[in-house]
Symmetry: C2
């Protein structure tokens, strides 16, 4: 290996990431390198990559999350990824337990990191959007609730998660004009009081094991459905694990879930 770098692999509810600590802010990541290392067969494999860089001078946060999608493109924020980054910072002594601020392309995020176990991240405001929307899957049309978590979601309640079928292609959403930038679709089954299970079809990706903003959308949609007002706490089961979403009276979501470091890596930076 000509120019090798140290990296880590971790996941939050099986949404998985390569972490590259770049404490001196000296690593320039080629798009082709990110796509190659995230490739699940010719690389290591991950949903995305996080370069852990120092935040700009004068920033209230000490660290910046430079998030890249699986294909190497830039992204603003990832709710599962930022928890894994926070776990890394605390486990390695780069940050203290308790309150932790991390800067992202979507602004500074506030996390709470205990010595071990689940990590919490404030995800910002979640809001229901007026308008009638329908989702069709398995030749059945369902009414959906439009939710804005910074990105667009359509939440559908089903009797059984199997009602969504194999989900090998995107569910049909109508009217298309309701989501000019596409939409993430969640199928939700009520399990009990403030406890739900969900599957998610992410726009441009397909069905995934977990979606952080999706769990927040589902919590608010379920609260709306039952006409709940005021703070509420939700247990949301995704395919890859369990997330807790706490909504305050203003609709701000606090997401709490696992963040696991699985392996340390040494990778050839010239990988393409």
């Amino acid at each position: 290996m000509s120019r090798s770098i140290r990296a880590f692999k971790g996941h939050g509810t099986e949404n998985d990431f390569i972490l590259i600590p770049d404490l001196d802010d000296t690593i320039s990541l080629a798009t082709e390198f990110v796509a190659a290392i995230c490739d699940r067969h010719r690389g290591v494999g991950a949903d995305g990559l996080i370069r852990i860089a120092p935040a700009e001078t004068g920033n209230a946060a000490e660290w910046f999350m430079d998030y890249r999608n699986h294909d190497g493109s830039l992204a603003e924020m990832c709710g599962n990824g930022i928890r894994v980054m926070a776990r890394y910072l605390v486990d390695t002594g780069l940050a203290s337990t308790g309150l932790l601020l991390i800067d992202t392309r979507d602004g500074i995020k506030e996390l709470t990191v205990p010595t071990s176990g689940d990590v919490s991240v404030a995800m910002g405001k979640v809001s229901a959007v007026l308008g009638d929307v329908n989702v069709s899957v398995q030749a059945h049309e369902y009414p959906a609730i439009k939710i804005d978590v910074g990105n667009p979601h359509a939440v559908v309640f089903v009797e059984s998660l199997a009602d969504a079928g194999a989900l090998l292609s995107a569910p049909e959403v109508s009217p298309l004009s309701a989501f000019p930038d596409g939409v993430n679709v969640e199928f939700v089954k009520i399990d009990g009081e403030r406890e739900v299970s969900m599957r998610v079809f992410e726009r441009g990706v397909g069905e995934t094991r977990s979606c952080g903003t999706g769990t927040c959308a589902v919590a608010l949609a379920t609260a709306e459905r039952f006409g709940l007002v005021g703070p509420s706490s939700w247990t949301v089961h995704v395919l890859g694990g369990t997330i807790t979403v706490d909504l305050d009276a203003s609709g701000n979501a606090l997401m709490t879930g696992p963040a696991v470091i699985v392996a340390e890596l040494v990778v050839d930076l010239d990988l393409r």
Copy 2:
């Protein structure tokens, strides 16, 4: 990490593996650990795992390939995996370039490993099996050629690899009695003189980026189709790269292809 071990990730035509050097033969691999590290979201991710162990005393080979499937179960041999293991042994100085013997559950295999580049492995005898077999896909029935490479294959010639469709489920093979243990199905397009492209649906797995025995089956089936006798050399393009298959006059196949080490890993042996 409580008990961490050093490992590597590599691939041959995008058939990817975790390699665990166990030079002292002291590592006991729990099935749950293998399944967890091979899991593409909660682990590192790979099609299979190879523990590199010393061969038994008195064996002509110095090293033994302890191959495990993605789910942790034992397997006899893997043609792409053994090339990656050979590349690791030579790159780290544990074996010399040139001829290399590696013991497997399917007996001793003979490889040729240059200083860099593609690795060759003698895959043993490939033979055509008499009997009419048909494969149905995309509502179209094709005649197939039955090939035995130690494991069973049905090879189908198509005008375009797209004729096989999305291959999300196993193509229908008839009569079922021809393959009591299931069958790997290859779709082949003739690209030129002794050059073909293929897609493969592996039994119990689904469509994969590559299948070592499949490339040998396709080379022989194409030779049979054109009535070629005597030695012949085939360029076989799979989704994950290109393999060369050399058939001798007796039907013995020598498979030559890439073997790449991508990353070094340190993994928690208690991963589940």
